[in-house]
Amino acid sequence: MKPPDKTTSHPSRRTFLQTALGALAAEQALPAFGEAGQNSNGPQARETRLFALPQFLRPDPFGDIVHADRNAAAAGNGFQKGHRLSLECPRGTYASFHLMVQTARPGEYTLDLHLNDRSGKIQTDLYREWFHRLHSGEYYPDALVPVSAPHRSRLPEPDNKIANQSTQAFWVDIWVPADAAPGDYSGRATLQAEGRRRTLELHLKVLPAVIPAEDVVTLDHNSYGDSWIATQFPACVRATSGDFYKSDELFRLIHSYHRIFYENHGIFHQLGYSHTGRVTPEFAPALEGEGRKKRIANWNLYDRHYGPLMDGSAFAHTRRGPKPIPFAYLPINPEWPASWLWWGQPGYEAEFTRIVGEMEQHFRRNGWTQTHLEMFFNHKKRYKGFSWDGDEVRFPKDLRYFHDYGRLLKKALPADTPVRFVFRADVSWDMQQQFRNLNGVVNMWTCSGGLLSWHKGAPKMLRERGDIVWYYGGPPRVTQPSSAITEMVLRAWVWDTMGFLHWLAVSPGKDPWFNFTGGSTTLVYSGERFGLRDPIPSVRLKIQRNTVRELTLLDSFKARHGLEDLKAEATKQFNGSMPDQWWDPRPAFADKPPYDYTNADLNSATARTRKLFSNLDAAAWNRVRQSIMQLARENQ
């Protein structure tokens, strides 16, 4: 543990602390935000009004704040002052807030929104927030339906079907590109309802600070196969003539999923094979022959799938601009490209090295050299396909297969290949041994967040030897405080990992609209219900995006303020903790072989960090954000 006196003696940290506390004090001295802030602990008396809430206070359909965020309502005081909303934003990110329309009586309304920018660089996106009905009967906003201003509708919102709905929430994203001119911008939101017009004046201060384009942590969103796309877009499937899985429509949708994550500063993974090694055709080149005659027959489906992703053209019309995807699974598994029939025989090596070698040539010829191509084994013995665990190894005897595949991969590739093949392992039980045993074999590690919590220093050690290291978990439920998703981003940075992986981020459940299970396996939704042919984002995805951008800005100050001091201040603002508290002590049982301890042991070993985050308040990240903005003002 770092001595506290050393930490607090850093002069730049003292400055940071003083200014951050000053900013907080100033916020707290301001009057309550608009009318909403006057009684934020209970439903408002129904009246027609237009008001704003900060992003961390999610609204419900009755003019209140959702239960999970309500304990942070006071932190929203001063967000709106009378009929004026002031925002501040560095360049290269978004200023976001909830814009609330409330009407005294059921009826029609028109909402308009604009921000003046003669250059046209600053752009405003408006989304209607869908209120998901949970089994408990509660409503939480999450899915964001893009709408255009002016937007006309009525309350209660007909398709959301909420009896007595008085309030419709809109998520506002104001995109401030890196080349926007710093300065003050003004605009206005207007509500026309019941024959009257209400206005909310907007003021945006764009700071000179520019957030680096590269995010300080990679936010990955995982998925399995692509049959779920057909399930979530049945109209697209029906409109497709012939086989949907060979259609342009499938690839358009796959690329659309990549785009929605990319635009929201994340990445997207799709695993293209099953636990028995069955490869979905559009995730691999087609093969023919056997043994020394095995070869790639064609790349048709693979190239339609991955070509625009690996050359970046799939992102040509995005705000971030075209860029190759940084990571992609390869279809390699024990049954592909070599048949497991030949394992241990010359034929296995011949088939493996021939096909992987052909793949390397194909990638090189196409200039697809920016994407890390992951040889990753997802199978587990319990699914009865193979005799060893590729994922989350618990029995050390299985590691010999990793050595075998590491050797095969090296043999298949030219030593000077410009193509970025990596050997990825997702590790939990046995990570400590694997870090040692597979040094020089595996060079991309995706670590269980729980178990990594007692391996302090491991991420830094792995990075220093040139490996890529992420940790994994899953999206927080909507019923958790809005800051829950920010904790994952912050933790990745505090731990020195290079990324975080949501193990499943595209599965909203059978009926996310009226019987929502909470969203712990999704951060996006199908837009088909709203007549859209693309996925739509969520409140949690937007909050995650804003967090990683702001964290990237904070990290950019490390040369001046010291990384460890920045971490200490961020964790303090976040939940009153120190970075050391974000690690668990190494349990005594960790000295035993991993097959001799249990999930219950693991659970007890992570009790300290779980407790640390058990009472997270919705404003946790907002406090960090205020500190970052203060630093941005100081450093401009």
């Binding site: 099953s274 069955r278 029939l341 009865k384 396909g385 097959y595």
Partner: protein
């Protein structure tokens, strides 16, 4: 697999039945009994409210025996001129009403396997095979055809069974989770 079969269901059944009859000779029942480790069997029926993955996390196999048996099953599947899997199912010692899938293969073809199940209730057609040694054809799910056939040990006892399965239009796009 998305290939369309040119074989009639009757032809497919005939091929599968032939493979099951060959499996009765080629698959080594003694070896199959030693695939799942004693530890895996010990934890198979244990439960812990604090550890819902207890059985799965302790599931383990002897890889030499597994790979040897799987090798035979793959070879058998290649006797068919269409996509076909030969899966190995074994009784669970001490639990005569249960059955466990022990080896599955690349097309994910089975009418019985439930994803992530370590063991399952013994299906009546499987009971018939285990008790009588007769091959049984099953056409219950998704248009799939399975022929169940016995696996014998060196004493001539039935040690387990194979499920030889094919589907006229195999699903290539089911989830991989």
């Amino acid at each position: 697999m998305t290939e369309k079969m040119t074989h009639t269901p009757e032809q497919i059944e005939q091929e599968l039945d032939h493979i099951a009859s060959v499996a009765a000779v080629m698959v080594d029942g003694d070896l199959c009994r030693h695939i799942v480790t004693p530890r895996a069997l010990e934890y198979m029926f244990k439960s812990d409210p604090h550890d819902r993955f207890l059985a799965g996390d302790n599931y383990d196999v002897n890889d030499a025996q597994f790979n040897s048996a799987k090798n035979t099953l793959i070879r058998l599947s290649r006797l068919a001129p269409f996509a076909c899997d030969v899966n190995l199912w074994m009784p669970v010692p001490g639990h005569p009403d249960k059955i466990q899938a022990v080896i599955r293969n690349v097309h994910d073809l089975s009418q019985f396997y439930v994803f992530a199940a370590i063991y399952q209730d013994l299906f009546p057609p499987m009971r018939t095979v285990l008790e009588t040694g007769k091959r049984v054809t099953v056409r219950q799910h998704r248009g799939m055809i399975s022929v169940l056939g016995p696996v014998y040990d060196s004493l001539g006892d039935i040690a387990g069974l194979v499920e030889v399965a094919a589907q006229p239009s195999s699903p290539a796009h089911e989830g991989h989770m």
